[in-house]
Symmetry: C2
Amino acid sequence: MIPKSTSPTIDDVAREAGVSISTVSRVLNRNVPVSDKVASKVEAAIRALRYTPRAAARNLATSRTSTLGLLLAEIVGDFFSPLLRGVESVAREHGYDLLISTAGRRGPQKELPGPFGKHNADGLLVFAGSLTDEGVRDTYSFGVPMVLLHQSSPQDLTIPCVTIENKAATRAIVEHLITKHNRRKILFLTGEPYNEDGYWREMGYREALARHDLPIEPELIAPGHFDRHIAQASIEQALREKIQFDAVFAGDDEAAVGVYAALRAANLNIPRDVSVVGFDDQGLAQVLQPALTTVHVPIEQVGIEAARCLIQLIQTGTAEPLTLLPTTLVIRSSCGCLEPSL
Amino acid sequence: MIPKSTSPTIDDVAREAGVSISTVSRVLNRNVPVSDKVASKVEAAIRALRYTPRAAARNLATSRTSTLGLLLAEIVGDFFSPLLRGVESVAREHGYDLLISTAGRRGPQKELPGPFGKHNADGLLVFAGSLTDEGVRDTYSFGVPMVLLHQSSPQDLTIPCVTIENKAATRAIVEHLITKHNRRKILFLTGEPYNEDGYWREMGYREALARHDLPIEPELIAPGHFDRHIAQASIEQALREKIQFDAVFAGDDEAAVGVYAALRAANLNIPRDVSVVGFDDQGLAQVLQPALTTVHVPIEQVGIEAARCLIQLIQTGTAEPLTLLPTTLVIRSSCGCLEPSL
DNA sequence: CTGTTAGCGCCTTCAT
DNA sequence: ATGAAGGCGCTAACAG
């Protein structure tokens, strides 16, 4: 049980088994036929020596790393765990390791983060906000297989992208407010700047209003940034400025938390005085009181699809250019529809 | 901008700069003095060729990977993102990559997960529930530097451990229920089996009762598993069996969500009829209505300390055997203390 | 300060 | 089916 100072190599195994290292390599990789007798001898030697192949040597020899890289903006929020869970499960299933790195609070980067070299992974999963367009271009020009998440490919390139349906779902939930609950002055909280999800949600909002001949009031569009505090501040300000509104599309569920807080502080009842709806449905929505009407996003599935897409790209050289995952309206109580809470 | 078929190696750079590969290696690593003139020539060549050293070759030559491995049980819950955020930031800061793997729903493993070989990382961060004691022993016996998180070292080994203070905090919050709110029949929801956090919380609960001469009633101890549905079921059953209780220690905040749901369904008021308290304080506690009195756990800090500990272990061969991070009582409304909500 | 050389551990033709 | 040998790209003595 005393830690060995130096771990055994393929040569040790070969010697122990009385065969050549190529034979050991063959039983390790199961690529080429090996006689059963020899194979079991080798396997015994491997077990006896507790041998594990060294990844670095293998990588060098094959120029593959069996590793996927995941680039994230920041590790925060309900969004992140399911996404990673999806990616990790697929990676493991296909024999890939998973390397993670974030842009952190420095914002999107123009280059791959330091330790995360171009040769550490066979391919990259790039989440929105981790790399600038320039960074994507640069990385792509090295020939690194990559898949974009919640971010579309730069114009002239064709980098596969996996994302979710934002516009139609937002239009649907806003139309629900209009048609079922007769709301007319719907406050829209935006996403983070440059965030494509937020952009399409705003398009959906605009379409919904247009369909019902409602005007787009600039004063009804305020920053939400998918952040509860920013959302809260925006609602407080709208209240202070006596802007009239009878409903709020919060941008996402996290922002809805701030909306709830601001409305409650102003003694406004949800949904009687103001309807509130969100986007994401990752557990928070069910906890809020009243339960939040929102749009369900299959985030784990995004991770799964993205990982599959990348692996296919690595292995075959091509992949589906665009995977758009469906989102679904989840009616609870905060819009005004009744439902037993939680 | 057309992806190069084969990326440049150190030899290409050497040729381009008109020096030997060792010189290139030297300016790459900045270990050994190099004349400024030569250095800038080399740097120019590196830029011209857009050269990036291949990690695998480096790893093989140095027998180091500059990579930290993180082993998790499952990627779920509020716990996970802050932990990873802490680990990732420290790793990046010190020039380490981060490799992630989970035991998944198969439960704790007896060996390191497949793709995640013993030589892929310079050291391992092992979170409770990812590896059995046997697995820890086995991995340790290979001489892999490792740090345990929320899990203590096997008896005879001395593997550094980073965890949080559970017992005193639980005792404090339970005593708060007893002394400030005059609660006498406090239902305790356990953690997951074999989870040490849960074990120590139960010890704290028992100590608190003992200090106030309250009996330990077996019927007041029920499964919570840090899971909202299991917790909800336990409360519903207690209610059905007409077990008397005037307070609930939920085990953690996630379980408290289930407790709220069950009590609300039974038309019981929190905190008037029943006080509820949790553990974790990762955002959920503030969202619940009434706001949850709980214990704040510095999870990101756990990640930070653990990563630091592992890096020190890797670089110096020794590290603090035990890091116990303090937790703090956070009084909100669900115990009965008044506070403006959210 | 710089060049030469010998591995690091494994895979992979090429023979046999 | 198996063995021999070259090479993957880089670092680290060792000379000079």
